[in-house]
Amino acid sequence: MKAVLRVNPIKCAAEGICAELFPERIQLDDWGYPIIEQGEIPEALIEHARQAVAECPRLALILQEQS
């Protein structure tokens, strides 16, 4: 199961909740916008990714899961 996390830069409004919930892969830039580490998300961290996606107030995060 491959999973890649992406942010929709137009919807994103720098709420910052994603970085709180998934600091392993998401850092905030100087202006509060998420920098998502590229690459697949390992199985162990998938739940954090899903939580970050669910909690984004702007629905700006997308987790693309391909089996």
């Binding site: 919807k11 709420e15 910052g16 909740i17 709180e20 919930l21 629905l59």
Partner: protein, 329 residues
């Protein structure tokens, strides 16, 4: 005198808890919109609390509505869910109905946000700013506890919390527009003051229940179960004595500490030491019983023994003052 049913207590309690939870939801929502955070309070925590509070709110709100609608003392029925259609205090009840409808809309759109999209969700969410004052006015106008200190404490706390949060939010959001900020914060402060003034002059006054549209049957029942003439009363009375041409004397008294309570003594003069005592609460008669006049006036109203002592304030005027003591018969 009928005992208030458990449903009545439940609805009052649930309603109060709903008001507290709604206050919490609104304050947390305002905090969320300021994007405030701290070490101990990350944003996801505040957001999750806001959401959990709103779910509890729905639960207690439903409890409050169901118990209120089916309370046998004031059987509102489902009809009351239509604004202005209830028999009981239609305006004030309807404010609650509308508030509930708004909250329902907000919760539903939040659950369906994925399908609705952010903008539609955001617009409807703004309605929370309307649902809270409606709930507050509803609880003050409809509630049967506006005199009770505990309720006033809760209501004051809720109002203070929301108004403080709005005040803070305006301060943050309008930092760069000092004039607009001053104006809006003044409106906030003045409306808080207005709420206090209105509460003191409206719901807290005697006669409010009738003015707000409580049906008279309910008023009578409530008065009967009201503990105005319960044992343990020790109030100062004030009133006037009127001597009519036919020799009858009428003494009209009101309880200074409970102005809703009026006592009228009709001394007919035919039987020495005998009089008729009529007690009314908010204009509705509680009891009309014979009273004996000796050193004091005594009468029994229901299970309560009343003792009234009177004296004139002066030789010339017809003003009288006195004391009312009640004890268990």
């Amino acid at each position: 005198m009928s005992e208030p049913s458990p449903l009545w207590y439940t609805t009052r309690g649930a309603g109060t808890v709903t008001l507290i939870l709604l206050t919490g939801v609104v304050v947390l929502g305002i905090v969320t919109s300021t994007r405030w955070k701290s070490e101990d309070w990350p944003r996801f925590l505040i957001a999750a609390l806001h959401r959990n509070f709103s779910l509890f709110l729905v639960a207690f709100g439903l409890l409050h509505i169901v118990t209120a609608l089916f309370d046998p003392a004031v059987f509102l029925g489902l009809k009351a869910l239509i604004p202005f259609a209830s028999d009981y205090r239609p305006l004030w009840l309807s404010l609650g109905v509308i508030s509930g409808d708004l909250i329902l809309a907000i919760v539903l759109t939040s659950l369906l946000r994925d399908r609705l999209g952010y903008l539609a969700w955001r617009i409807i969410h703004w309605l929370t700013y309307a649902s809270w004052p409606l709930a507050m006015l509803h609880s003050l106008g409809t509630g049967t506890d506006p005199h009770a200190a505990w309720f006033l404490f809760v209501a004051a706390g809720c109002a203070a919390a929301v108004m403080a949060a709005i005040f803070w939010r305006l301060g943050l959001g309008l930092e760069e527009h000092p004039n607009l900020r001053f104006l809006s914060q003044s409106v906030c402060a003045l409306s808080t003051l207005g709420l206090v003034v209105w509460t003191a002059g409206g719901p807290m006054q005697s006669g409010w229940a009738r003015m707000a549209g409580t049906p008279s049957t309910v008023l009578a029942a409530n008065s009967a179960s009201n503990d105005t003439l319960a044992p343990g009363v020790d109030d100062q009375l004030r009133g006037s004595l009127i001597r009519a041409n036919d020799g009858t004397v009428e003494v009209s008294l009101s309880d200074t500490q409970n102005p809703a309570l009026q006592l009228t003594l009709d001394v007919t003069g035919s039987g020495a030491g005998q009089a008729n005592l009529t007690a009314t609460h908010n204009g509705t008669q509680i009891c009309q019983v014979p009273a004996s006049i000796g050193n004091a006036v005594t009468a029994q109203c229901g299970q309560t023994q009343l003792t009234i002592t009177l004296r004139s304030t002066s030789q010339t005027s017809n003003q009288v003052i006195g004391e009312l003591i009640t004890e268990a018969a």
